[in-house]
């Protein structure tokens, strides 16, 4: 392990490696740095937060209902007297985990199908008809069927929480890859007729290398946008699912659910809507800036400008 990293480092120190260039470019992008910083902060907060702020997010203190901000409850309490800060932290764990994994899943599936359909001519028809089919499926009945078929099995195999987590990620991922696939395919169709790809083909570059070296880097920006939108989409979809009773148990906070539950209290206690809303928006925003920075950094034409 150490040997490998050692040798890698030696390799990299001589000629300036591509990845170091990428990092250099990334670090000059202020928005991207701020985004990455905030994202890291949220990540650390939701992972280590429960150790710092040790109130149980499910503990009900019935005498402290609907309280505003105070020392005991910095962000106030909800209608059952549960601590909002603790719930925000706990909810963040779930929402971040679901958002990131579901987004990655849908991105991988979408990109794979998009690239294959765009590049391999005989796959285009079947894959795009499959995309049409998935676009046409009504989400709610599909979810009900998936939950009916798999919940009990997953619950007994992995326990209620891990089982539902897997199910949620799968469900969100599998129902949101179509847009990415269509967009990537459209770009690939156009890219593969460009001169540099034709040149690569004519010198006999194998297909896999063409895709990885020439095609993928050039469709990165729509993928980045899809990724940003995907996280927001996953977090919101998760809340909609929980609300329908298809997601996590009801006493299990997530950002989307906190926001949803707070809507009725919009007039009495605006703070309750503000915090989860802010958490979702800022996280999505930070991912967006990171995406922007990464895209610029990976674009050799911009790099070094």
């Amino acid at each position: 392990m150490t040997d490998i990293t050692q040798s890698k480092l030696e390799q990299q120190s001589k000629p300036r490696s591509q990845w170091l260039d990428v990092w250099d470019q990334f670090s000059t992008h202020k928005g991207a740095l701020a985004g990455a910083g905030f994202f890291l902060f949220v990540l650390l907060a939701v992972i280590f937060g429960p150790y710092v702020w040790a109130i149980d997010p499910q503990y009900i203190d019935i005498r402290a209902r609907n309280e505003g901000m105070s020392l005991a409850h910095p962000l106030g309490t909800d209608q059952l007297g549960r601590d909002t800060l603790a719930r925000l932290i706990r909810g963040g764990q779930t929402s971040m985990a679901v958002g990131l994994t579901a987004m990655l899943l849908s991105l991988v599936v979408g990109t794979l199908i998009g690239v294959l359909a765009g590049y391999v001519r005989w796959l285009d028809g079947p894959l795009m008809r499959l995309t049409d089919l998935f676009l046409a499926l009504p989400l709610l009945p599909l979810l009900l069927v998936i939950i009916m078929l798999f919940r009990e099995t997953l619950r007994s195999a992995l326990g209620p929480e891990a089982g539902i987590f897997l199910l949620m990620v799968f469900v969100i991922g599998i129902t949101s890859w179509m847009q990415t696939a269509r967009i990537v395919r459209g770009d690939v169709l156009s890219l593969k007729e460009r001169e540099f790809v034709l040149a690569a083909v004519s010198i006999g570059t194998p297909g896999r290398r063409i895709i990885l070296r020439h095609i993928l880097p050039n469709v990165l920006s729509p993928i980045m946008v899809s990724a940003t939108l995907g996280i927001a989409n996953a977090i919101i979809t998760e809340s909609a699912l929980s609300f329908l009773g298809l997601g996590f148990p009801s006493d299990f906070p997530t950002w989307g659910r906190l926001l949803f539950d707070a809507i009725d209290y919009l007039q009495q206690d605006p703070g309750r809507v503000l915090w989860p809303g802010l958490a979702i928006s800022l996280t999505v925003l930070s991912v967006n800036y990171m995406g922007d920075g990464l895209r610029d950094a990976l674009d050799p034409r911009i790099r070094g400008r």
Partner: protein, 335 residues
Amino acid sequence: MFDYTIRRTLLAIPTLLFISLILFLLLDLAPGDPTAQLPLTIPPEVKEKIRESLGLGQPLVIRYLLWLQQFFVNEPLHYLTEITGWDLSGDRQRVLSWQSRSPVVDIILQRLPQTLWVVGMSYVVGVLIALPIGIISAYRQYSWFDQIGTFVSMIGFSVPTFFTGVLLIVVFSVELGWFPSIYDTTHVVDDWSSFLFQVKQMIMPTMVLALYNAAQISRFMRASMLDNLNQDFVRTARSKGLRESTVVLVHVLRNSMIPVVTVIALGVPTVFGGAIITEQVFKVNGLGQLLITAIQANDIPMVQSLTFIFAILIVAFNLIADVLYGVLDPRIRYD
């Protein structure tokens, strides 16, 4: 390209038949029951009778074939009868909703106006806002315009419509009393004042949806413009001495449209699918509300017909997108 279009259109028929079968199987498999919303005071044996009267006792294949016949033969015949006045349909059974026991297609046609007014308008507005924002943001990357545009569109996308809708109602209906919080679907526009009322009742749902749509489209527009702004052909065009506006709006824009066309083409069928949450929040009662109430009531003929119509639109608009790719980039070839 013409051959390709014809071939794809023909291929769409088996595709759609296959999709309709999958939809039917999915809806049949889904848990739930048309008697779910009845009060518990109605005893189970009565519920069983209701199910039988809806035809649920018959095997799956029969029910599917019956739907196919009703949807593809009886419905068109009925409309031919209405148009021509000849009795072509006889007493052929049309597709009937289980909730209202009335023809599904009639209800869908009844809902179309408000969906097109609100959801359709919001999509048009969304696209009209998004394209310039995306173009300017990319052209002046990291300017204050770009920063604000990014911020607003990210907020627009990450804050769900169930929140923005209620927020607007609380501010503009409850506190200020400017706009109605409940959409009047029976309203008829026949003069200036009724038109003003229509605008008033449309403005909030349209803005909520337009913000959401614009956020998405403008991000793709911006990203794709950025990709192309540094390409060689742009440099060539500039060095030829073309005007900057020509370079950006003709050369760069045209080459950046492919992802945007894809997103818009994917979005148009969802216009007809309605916006479930927004329609619910503002009581627009369009196609989205029709779909969700039908799903909740397990009204299978209604859900099947609606989703199938969406499937037709999805297949059609994806085909249109594919044709447009060829127009935007003549190098793209489908054999």
